[in-house]
């Protein structure tokens, strides 16, 4: 009997929080506007009413405070799940995240572990005004000690969040906000592959698109389109950036010999750079063409009016795939 129901990503995350709070007394949810209001994206809707002030509560307006308090609560046996209202509003918490959240396990030789989940509604595509659309994953992925998870599907949003909350290590949980209200079938009783495992969302013989979070559906759409043009593109959904699934990625790229990395963040010194660099290093002898990147430009996130030029789209991906030294070029 399948328990699949249609739900939005916001609902999937809400369900994960609800189930985690229900099953584990040590799970607490807090942040700005998460209680009475249920979050500006309604992700925590109803949880305060259902579980009360001791499990779900609003804090004063201070992100360093929120994350710093989470550190202490985790030291005292709790599993805090905190919300940063928008990507750019996590920056005030940067010192707490980099110098403490990421390092305390190491600084105590594992005596103190911090099971904290920092939820970050992130990336663009929602017509948001400035500071509301940053793709900030590189800052976290570069910081040793953080696990960085970026779900692309609603089932993963549920399953990966459950795993993140239940785990021992701090997790930056990147929620692609443009998918909050996208509906998909989700069966929460079916486990998803663990954090650290990438999934081949679409096999493909000619080239491999590597993506995560909000770029996965775009990559799939590109592959779809390519198929109609006679080119067979595979799509890998990384699901977690740290740990990174070299095995799955390299297996695919070695098979196809061509890879394009797709990500929304500015490309310079980004997660996309890392992927391109490691694929280049590990699959060199199998590559028929350089690993290419389709990323955001190296500019502050542009305004709603122009964001479609900035976001990696199907056309730009396919144009890039076209440059991958195909036989016909040589001929």
């Amino acid at each position: 009997m399948s328990a699949a129901t249609k739900m939005t990503m916001a609902q999937a995350i809400n369900a994960a929080l609800r189930d985690a709070i229900t099953e584990d007394d040590s799970v607490v949810v807090f942040g700005e506007d998460v209680a009475q209001l249920g979050g500006v994206f309604r992700v925590t809707d109803g949880l305060h009413r259902e579980f009360g002030e001791s499990r779900v509560f609003d804090t004063p307006l201070a992100e360093s405070g929120i994350v710093g308090m989470a550190v202490g609560m985790a030291m005292n046996g709790m599993r805090p799940v905190v919300e940063m209202q928008f990507d750019a509003f996590a920056y005030p918490a940067f010192e707490q995240i980099v110098s403490h959240v990421a390092k305390l396990g190491n600084r105590t030789r594992g005596k103190v572990r911090l099971p904290i989940v920092i939820r970050v509604p992130y990336a663009g595509g929602i017509g948001g005004v400035e500071h509301h659309c940053d793709s900030s994953e590189a800052y976290y992925a570069h910081t040793p000690g953080l696990t960085v998870v970026a779900p692309a599907t609603n089932a993963d949003a549920y399953g990966l969040l459950r795993e993140a909350i239940a785990g021992s290590d701090p997790v930056i949980f990147l929620e692609p906000k443009k998918h909050y209200f996208t509906k998909e079938e989700v069966d929460v009783s079916v486990p998803v592959p663990p954090i650290g495992r990438a999934v081949v969302r679409r096999p493909g013989a000619d080239a491999t698109l590597i993506a995560y979070g909000p770029s996965v559906p775009v990559a799939l759409a590109a592959a779809e389109q390519a198929a109609t043009e006679g080119r067979d593109l595979g799509v890998i959904d990384l699901r977690s950036i740290v740990p990174f699934d070299d095995e799955t990625v390299c297996a695919e790229v070695r098979r196809t010999g061509r890879a394009v990395v797709v990500a929304e963040a500015p490309g310079f010194a980004s997660v996309a750079s890392e992927i391109a660099a490691r694929v280049g290093e590990r699959c060199f002898h199998h590559l028929e063409a350089p690993v290419r990147r389709v990323t955001g430009f190296d500019v502050p996130y542009p305004p709603p009016k122009l964001e479609h030029h900035f976001l990696p789209g199907v056309d730009r991906i396919l144009d890039t795939v076209d440059t991958l030294q195909w036989e016909e070029d040589v001929a």
Binding site: E32, D33, Q36, L37, G38, V40, D58, T59, P60, L61, A62, S64, G65, A88, F89, Y91, P92, G127, G128, V129, E130, H131, H132, F268, F297, D298, V299, P300, P302, P303, P304, K305, L306, H309, F310, D315, R316, D319
Partner: protein, 363 residues
């Protein structure tokens, strides 16, 4: 080196809101009589501010603005914080202070640029000495301190008016800004519009202090609480703070006791977190009503003048509709133009790639 003593009077000022006009529009006993003509001009600005709030709200509903955080109910704050400034002074506003920026003289159409969904602030900050509207909370307070400190170093008597909300007082940057200003004796007026909410979060979750103005004690500067719906009281308190700053006596923290009548923005639904009767209880304290009643009672405002003001406000609103409604062509290449003062080779390359794409599309 402790410079700030603490008198009983100072404490009282930081806790009990100053008031000149009461809720029925009558002068408080013992209060100085405001200059009628100046107050009538203030009333005109209040009406403009209200009209701008209404017009922007309408434009959001029509999809012509991406978002609008309304200052309805806070118009007296919006007007007072600019009317006390001299030409060379600076204003540091937030997303909620569009009406204050317009009151400062910036074309309201320019003011709404960011909220239309553009990436830039629309106006040239140097022309009217108005910083871009700040969204990351409390961060702009430090910029205000910097402008003030630089002015002092240069021997200029510039004063800086730095705005924020009650919620923003919880941020670390609020603390650092107050402290830097006090330590450097910077000519800054910190003006907190305590409208009782930070989106959905009520004041009680931001602070359990006797008042927000009382925070000033911890920085060694005066803190003054004022009725935020009482234009003459605001102008008096803010005016004194500006004078103090200009005289080289350092910063002041002013807290306005006011209320956000509408939702946080159009995207918000305040009924999810506050009762209607809380809102209704504030309506009689409307800042326009109060001044209007007083001016009418003293004979400084008659129907004709009222109509003139309304007509002028209508004109402004029409200009806003026209300006915001006008189709602007956003040039995608401009996204690269201002990131650095000269294009880096990397951005030149990326711009060229985008240009090639666009040309292909057009072809």
């Amino acid at each position: 080196m402790w410079r700030c003593g603490l008198s009983a009077g100072q404490l009282k000022a930081a806790i009990t809101p100053a008031r000149l006009l009461d809720e029925t529009g009558r002068l408080v006993r013992g209060a100085p009589t405001p200059d009628a003509e100046a107050l009538a001009e203030g009333y005109r600005k209040l009406v403009f501010a209200r009209r701008l709030n209404e017009q922007a709200g309408a434009l959001v509903r029509q999809g012509r603005l991406a978002v609008y955080p309304s200052s309805r109910g806070q118009e007296a704050c919006q007007v007072a914080c600019t009317s006390v400034l001299a030409e060379g002074d600076w204003l540091f506003p937030t997303y909620r202070d569009s009406a204050a920026i317009a009151a400062r003289g910036v074309d309201p159409v320019e003011v709404l640029t960011l909220l239309r969904g553009d990436w830039h602030c629309g106006y040239d900050p140097n022309v009217h000495k108005v910083a871009p509207q700040a969204t990351p909370l409390a961060t702009q307070l430090l910029h205000a301190v910097g402008v003030g400190h630089a002015a002092r170093l240069k021997g200029e008597d510039t004063v800086v008016m730095a705005l924020c909300g009650d919620g923003a007082t919880s941020e670390g940057d609020f603390h650092e800004a107050c402290n830097f200003a006090a330590v450097f004796r910077a000519p800054v007026v910190f003006f907190v519009q305590n409208n009782k909410y930070a989106i959905s979060v009520p004041l009680a979750r931001q602070s359990v202090a006797p008042s927000l103005a009382a925070k000033a004690i911890g920085y060694g500067m005066p803190g003054v609480r004022v009725d935020g719906n009482d234009l003459p009281a605001l102008e008096k308190v803010l005016g004194e703070a500006v004078a103090r700053a200009r005289a080289g006596d350092g910063p002041t923290l002013v807290e306005a006791d006011t209320y956000r009548i509408e939702s946080h923005t159009n995207a918000d639904d305040a009924s999810r977190y506050r009762a209607d009767d809380e809102v209704t209880a504030w309506l009689p304290r409307d800042p326009l009503l109060r001044v209007r009643t007083y001016l009418t009672a003293i004979g400084a405002l008659d129907d004709e003048r009222e109509q003139d003001i309304a007509a002028a406000a209508e004109e402004m609103a029409a200009a806003v509709r026209a300006g915001v409604g006008a189709e602007t062509v956003a040039d995608p290449e401009e996204v690269f133009a201002h990131v650095y003062s000269t294009l880096t080779p990397q951005l030149a390359e990326q711009r060229a790639a985008l240009r090639a794409e666009l040309e292909l599309e057009e072809a």
